[in-house]
Symmetry: C2
Subunit: 682 residues, 2 copies
């Protein structure tokens, strides 16, 4: 099917091609894009052709095999038209026509799916803006025809594609393929990711999604693609407002943004939040060699913009270190004395072609990448400076990004840079922001491949006896998860015995299925020092549980000087089980310091999670404290992340606090919510 | 002097005007900008004129009074030329010539200052890119001539001005005045702020600075300006790298960025970090009526870009709430059924002039502002949609921002929007980001006027007897700052007596001028419960201080369950005394959760500081804790902020922890570093 879609020998446009109609516009786009008219056919009831392309009353009557059909007929006719196309041998169709599930016409969309199931024809759309394959002169799209190159764009939204392709044309970014798949009745982002992963003409994939429907399949496809080439993702509908807009736009629910964020990172995708950022990264990835380190040098001809770019470079994680004394000496041998030899290196408005060339070539022996800034006054010609930059990039073989501005003054120089393969960014800030993401990518800070779970669910009988704290603690212990030595007691006497067995000081908590938030009710007593205090405490807890279902108390040793953290589990509607790690106790909410992963994770991934949080700083032995046992903590997170696969009945679980000790960890409290598994769960 | 500078009757250009020379270019700029040639004169040794403007061998020989001199002669001649201009009656001069302090020629710059002192002539520059007054057709600048309007730009860096003015011309942003003041040998940002505050043609001030030299005078001028009109500031050289670049660029030291940030906010300035953001805010402030609230509605003709804009709107603090049922009903009465009536309101690609007009007019009855998005496909004309937007803005009187894109397709519509006073932003995201800043400004969340201190320093004798903890505590107490009841002891017996007086449990700390970091050395013992533990503790502390200058111990009551915070003081080289508030104890560094203000602050400002931190959430009674005494805390911060003015010997002071109790606060520890006052201190 893919050759029929992206490299068809013959294309039929099905629909009206009267002037002013979409069909006419699409036909003109295809012809203007260079697709041979002889390999095109137009099909509509009147058999009307246009623009030198012959018309036929039906696909069957074209008399040649059709690979790809482009459909712009009214919504009601689409299923029948598709069936006709399939019978005539077409293996793929792009349905531009709107008026399906996006306006509530679910039956119409189901009818399309039925044709797919019955005939095997594969569909892009409906309600889409078409496809592009620049390397095959194939432009059945409503959007701007972009120049050819290595970026392939997959966009749920046609308008997003329209903006991106228009920018691509304006700024000379080369596109390989473009797909707007609209409602995604058949082919979706998953299929295109799989295809583009293998497509030799695609160097970089840019993906715009608002929601995905089968989360774990999507992650598998995404992960497979990121192993082959950079994948840059915009996931829109991030906020509540955005999500509502998504709802009305596509009729399916968007997952919580934080989970998307974790999942995308986990798969090695580069998430960005704006089209401009996506564009800049595509430019950087296709036009620059790999950026192997963070040390960037800025060569400029004016102070202010260089300072702004340096500020931003440090902000986004690059280092703008000073040139070494040796390097300064070498530079001062050929640069005029008024040039500033710190980084940014300021050649001043007197900067020349040779100045840019030689300076860049020299400094790139020490630095990982360079930004060549030129803020051109109207009275100077920038083309020679561009030549110097191009030569330096060639001689050094290192990544050189340019920011020649302002636009109207440097148009000719920018055109030259582009033709010579040097990416020119809108500002120095945008250039260094792109470089920083490239460094992260090339230095392998993107994650390893996401792997789905292969666990088999354990029998129901292995589930905890009840969801009361002592039963859950016992169950955790049986699963190999470390919990403190604990005892339960139904009377003050039993409590005293238990406390002595544990050893003073102890902690005592009320047990009742009707008390969920023990702390808030005063149901937790810390640091109990003797028998008398145990008795008094028991009475107090019994009183708190009076008129509730009182099941006695649970006692623990009182653990001091341990760092408290949280390990949690929940189910996301898109991605199923998610594991969480973060600051514990009162700091959970205060810091909002939580790392997420789609479960399960192994110990390495768990260590990476810990490293993402701020609380990690407290675990490494800050301020004279002993460092916490990271390995034991990572092991706990990994074990917890397996549980929802072994026990599909776990809907949510919180271990909070978990005490991190110099040797080992201990679960201080547990809450578990059982529930029917969501449809997406394994 | 200001009329001579910005509205001169006669201007002399002093320097060579041979073709290709800067003087020639400047003369052409002035003539092309519409300054009458008859009111121009050229002065150079040969008396050579150009482009129809007469030349004279000296300023004196021009034979008419000269208001303003534009100087492009070699650096060595500049002081003499200035003196000649002053003698001929010129009251202001713009020195374009470079080659002064920026390349180490400090003497040359001092010679310029000497002429200023002697003759009273005022100078812009040297090493600058000139000035602009569009409303007087005055363009003696190397940069692009922008269209006339309400934005005035002050930029240390000429290149930054160049980029901004080129964008202004490209995108139709109206400029009132522009000053590039280069090395600022005489007039600086302070003077221009004072002038522009009163300038009726300036609606908005945009300021680019890399550093300021007299911090408190600058803040006074800035604060006075922000009271009259919005001031948008880029402070570059934020990071270490940026700062180094600043150093080499201007030869003076940049203050720590966090202090700049606090100081700018304190003065009501709007800080931005990129030129694009500055540009967008200038566009918003000059083209939109006041934005009175956060509820924004997005009206679009395509899904994806609307979702992206909604995401971003929520991200930057706007609310994209759904239309009320009434509103939806009113909309559904005239909009086609396929339109989405949630927010964003999607008119789809079928959106019309009347659709935009009526939808916007209707929804703006409920919302505070609107974003009109149009993502145009190449086959549709966007001008009618622009007309609908313009009409709706007029009818509603509410702020309507536009984002018509992509550029090449909507050029005509954007031109129309601009002519009709509707600002068009590069993307929907940039539009809502600008709206969000406007809301903050207009809803008065910018701070009140900064007021400098009017305290008189107290006599030296009032300074603490020593910097040992007990002496400092006693001194704080005498200043009305609440400290716990404390006792000192030189022997174990004295310590027991003291502990009994305080009441168990107590805290005991070692006292020694040679021990600064007590905790790290084990010099602090918490929760001592009885006489025996006091004796043991005393011995331990005495041992720690063995072979050091042991001055006994200090004892305090053991305070539990209080929130620990930090209140600090330090001196900034640019701004003098700065007061800090933040999380205390180990969280100070972990959270980096500190609010700063240039001192002094009053209690209201202190409350605002507290509110900026995350630790504030712990003070409001989270998780069943009693709320902390905010008033007492604010009072403490205000009192502390006065101290450096009363005691100029205070270089730094840390109160950490400060215990915040349900009633009152108590200082738990104090460190003070005395030192010579910096030159900037009051």
């Amino acid at each position: 099917m893919w050759p029929s879609l992206f490299t068809p020998q013959t294309v039929a446009l099905v629909g009206s091609v009267g002037e002013g109609k979409l069909g006419y516009y699409l036909l003109r786009q295809m012809l203007d894009g260079g697709f041979p008219p002889a390999r095109l056919a137009v099909v509509n009831p009147k058999g009307q052709g246009a623009l030198g392309v012959s018309g036929y009353p039906s696909v069957a009557e074209v008399g040649r095999p059709i690979d790809l059909a482009i459909i712009v007929t009214p919504a009601a006719t689409v299923p029948a038209v598709l069936e006709e196309c399939a019978q005539a041998g077409a293996r793929a169709a792009v349905v531009i026509t709107a008026g399906f599930s996006e306006v509530g016409n679910v039956a119409g969309e189901e009818a399309i799916r039925e044709v797919v199931r019955k005939t095997g024809i594969r569909i892009v759309g409906p309600n889409c803006a078409g496809i592009v394959n620049t390397h095959h002169a194939l432009f059945p799209t409503l959007e701007t025809r972009p120049p050819a190159g290595g970026v392939s764009l997959i966009a749920q939204s046609g308008a997003v594609g329209g903006v991106f392709l228009a920018w691509a044309r304006e700024h000379g970014l080369g596109i390989a393929k473009f797909v707007s798949y609209g409602n995604g009745a058949d082919l979706t982002e998953r299929d295109f990711l799989e295809y583009l992963a293998e497509d030799p003409e695609t160097q970089v994939v840019a993906l715009y999604i608002e929601e995905v429907t089968e989360g774990r399949d999507f992650l598998r496809a995404l992960s497979a693609c990121t192993r082959r080439k950079p994948v840059i993702v915009i996931k829109a509908g991030r906020t509540e407002a955005g999500r509502r807009a998504t709802l009305s736009h596509t009729g399916s629910m968007a997952g919580a943004d934080a989970v998307y964020d974790a999942a995308l990172r986990q798969c090695g995708a580069l998430r960005v939040t704006s089209l401009e950022e996506m564009f800049d990264l595509c430019l950087g990835f296709t036009a620059l060699p790999p950026v192997r380190g963070r040390r960037v040098v800025i060569v400029t001809n004016s102070g202010g913009p260089g300072v702004l770019a340096a500020d931003w470079a440090e902000e986004v994680g690059l280092t703008v270190t000073e040139p070494s004394p040796t390097l300064r000496e070498r530079l001062s041998a050929f640069l005029p004395p008024y040039c500033s030899l710190s980084n940014p290196i300021d050649l001043t408005v007197e900067g020349t072609e040779e100045g840019y060339r030689r300076t860049l070539t020299t400094v790139l022996e020490e630095y990982d990448a360079a930004l060549a800034l030129n803020i051109a006054p109207a009275y100077l010609d920038s083309v020679p400076l561009a030549r110097g930059v191009v030569q330096a990039a060639r001689e050094s073989g290192k990544p050189v990004a340019a920011a020649f501005l302002p636009g109207p003054i440097v148009a000719e120089a920018v055109h030259y840079l582009r033709e010579q393969g040097i990416p020119n960014f809108a500002t120095g800030e945008r250039a260094v922001a792109a470089l920083a993401r490239l460094v992260k990518y090339y230095t392998g800070q993107h994650s390893t491949m996401w792997h789905s779970a292969s666990h088999r669910a354990l029998p129901q009988t292995d589930f905890p006896a009840s969801l009361l704290e002592p039963d859950l603690m016992a169950w955790l212990q049986a699963k190999g998860i470390p919990v403190p030595a604990f005892r339960t007691a139904r009377s003050a006497d039993e409590a005293v015995t238990a406390a002595r067995e544990i050893g003073y000081p102890v902690v005592m908590k009320v047990v009742s299925p009707q008390i969920l938030h023990k702390s808030e009710l005063g149901g937790v007593i810390l640091g109990i020092a003797d028998d008398e205090a145990v008795r008094a405490g028991f009475e107090r807890l019994a009183e708190i549980a009076a008129r509730r279902d009182f099941r006695g108390v649970v006692l623990y040793p009182f653990i001091r000087d341990a760092q408290e953290v949280l390990v949690g589990l929940f189910r996301d509607p898109q991605f199923g089980p998610v594991v969480a790690f973060g600051a514990g106790g009162i700091y959970t909410e205060l810091l909002q310091d939580v790392a997420l992963r789609v479960a399960p994770v192994d110990r390495d991934e768990a260590l990476a999670m810990i490293g993402e949080t701020r609380v990690a700083a407290l675990l490494t032995g800050a301020r004279g404290r002993p460092p916490g046992d990271m390995d034991a903590l990572a092991d706990l997170i990994a074990r917890v992340s397996d549980l929802p696969f072994l026990y599909p009945d776990i809907a949510e679980m919180d271990l909070n606090p978990v005490f991190v000790l110099p040797r080992g960890v201990l679960v201080g409290d547990v809450r578990l919510i059982a529930g029917t598994s969501s449809p997406d769960s394994p």
